[in-house]
């Protein structure tokens, strides 16, 4: 018998790309050995009667409250009306607003969303925006003065998902958005959260 490995042509035989007759005489014996190997492959179908009962029983057992069970037997679909977005009342200090543009209704966004960031900072010389969407680089996204005195803005197209950000005033002062949800940044300051 030849070495441990099957000859490449015998492997082609096993793959079904050659027939035994295609093999040279010297390889016939090895080819027959290979085909005997395949012949004992167990192709018996396997069934699991009653598995669906066990799966559903397992899912119900894991349910941890009657209300889950109630959902299971009386499915119900309720749509909550989304109230129109309104502005938080202005305060004397820096005011920041985030307005969503081009959002026709409560569609879960998978495509990018246009977002306008606005900061009321009348004493600032320079304002920028830093966040997860621009590697927190304070130089990457400057805001520009708008027509209204003291109001700065920038409009970005952001991918769907959750972002954290803050404004950077005069290159040094990191200011969270008072109108947005805020979380601890781990460094003693707060970041604002934007969910798209």
């Amino acid at each position: 018998m030849s070495g441990k490995d099957f000859h490449p042509q015998v492997k082609q035989l096993l793959d079904g790309e050659l027939s035994l007759a295609d093999l040279p005489a010297a390889l016939r014996a090895e080819g027959e050995e290979a085909l005997r190997l395949l012949a004992v492959v167990d192709r018996e179908p396997v069934t699991f009667p009653g598995l669906e009962t066990r799966v559903l029983a397992e899912l119900r057992r894991r349910a941890d409250s009657p209300s889950w069970w109630r959902r299971l037997v009386t499915p119900r679909e309720v749509r909550l009306r989304v109230r129109p977005w309104t502005l938080v009342p202005a305060f004397a200090a820096a005011l920041a607003l985030v307005l969503f543009l081009a959002q026709p209704g409560p569609t879960p966004a998978t495509s990018p969303v246009t977002v306008r960031f606005v900061l009321f900072a009348p004493d600032a010389q320079q304002v920028s925006l830093a966040g997860t969407f621009n590697q927190w680089d304070p130089a990457a996204t400057p805001l520009v003065r708008t027509g209204t005195p003291g109001v700065w803005s920038a409009t970005l197209i952001l991918p769907a998902g959750q972002h954290q950000y803050a404004f950077v005033v005069d290159g040094a002062r990191w200011v969270a958005d008072p109108g947005a949800p805020a979380v601890d940044d781990g460094f003693g300051r707060r970041n604002s959260v934007l969910s798209l």
Binding site: K4, D5, F6, P8, K11, L14, D15, E33, A34, R36, L37, L38, V40, V41, D42, R43, E44, P45, V46, T47, F48, L51, E52, R54, V55, L56, E58, L59, R62, R71, L72, V73, P75, R76, E77
Partner: protein
């Protein structure tokens, strides 16, 4: 991919996601046995396979909101089951050890008549000695009867890499079966 009432997988999945969770039973019934044999050959035991398939259905239910292509629920389910089979570390003890300890001559095994059941078990043993990837390509092609192209599509890999895996499997199987008494 539709049931007798004509509803497609996608329709059933979307109905479940809309709140009609009871309909998950339809998907389980539809695909209960689809990969039973694959799981049995991968794990070497019918009981281990049944556990794996049951577990995969439970996981698929939990993660149903993450199924990106509801019309191809079964392809997504297969991947969950596949991960479960690959994670199965214990080799099943239920493939019966070769019983013919004294009855079969050591060397020229192929020339001694052995019961077909014994040979089947020997091959299943040998399959369990392969890596999971090697065993899988062998099972998908030679047990499930898929072509290399079909396997490549399902596993998101290339035909040449599958062939490389398979050819290595052939050699290892040959080695295993020859070494057995």
């Amino acid at each position: 991919m539709s049931g007798q009432d004509g509803s497609t997988d996608g329709q059933v999945v979307r109905a479940i996601l809309a709140g009609d969770t009871e309909r998950y039973g339809e998907l389980v019934t539809r695909y209960r046995d689809r990969y039973a044999r694959y799981a049995s050959r991968m794990l070497g035991s019918r009981d281990a396979a049944e556990d794996a398939v049951q577990d995969a259905f439970v996981r698929a239910y939990d993660q149903l909101a993450q199924c990106r292509d509801p019309d191809n629920f079964v392809g997504w389910f297969f991947l969950i089951l596949r991960n479960r089979c690959f994670a199965e570390r214990r080799k099943s003890k239920e493939v019966a050890p070769l019983e013919a300890a004294g009855a079969i001559a050591a060397v020229e095994r192929a020339e001694v008549p052995v019961e077909a059941a014994e040979q089947r078990r020997a091959l299943q043993h040998a399959l369990l000695e392969l890596t999971a990837e090697q065993r899988e390509v062998f099972v998908l092609k030679h047990v499930e009867g898929l072509s290399y192209g079909e396997i490549a599509e399902r596993l998101k890999t290339s035909v040449p890499s599958l062939k490389m895996r398979m050819h290595r499997a052939y050699d290892r199987l040959r080695e295993q079966l020859r070494d057995r008494p």
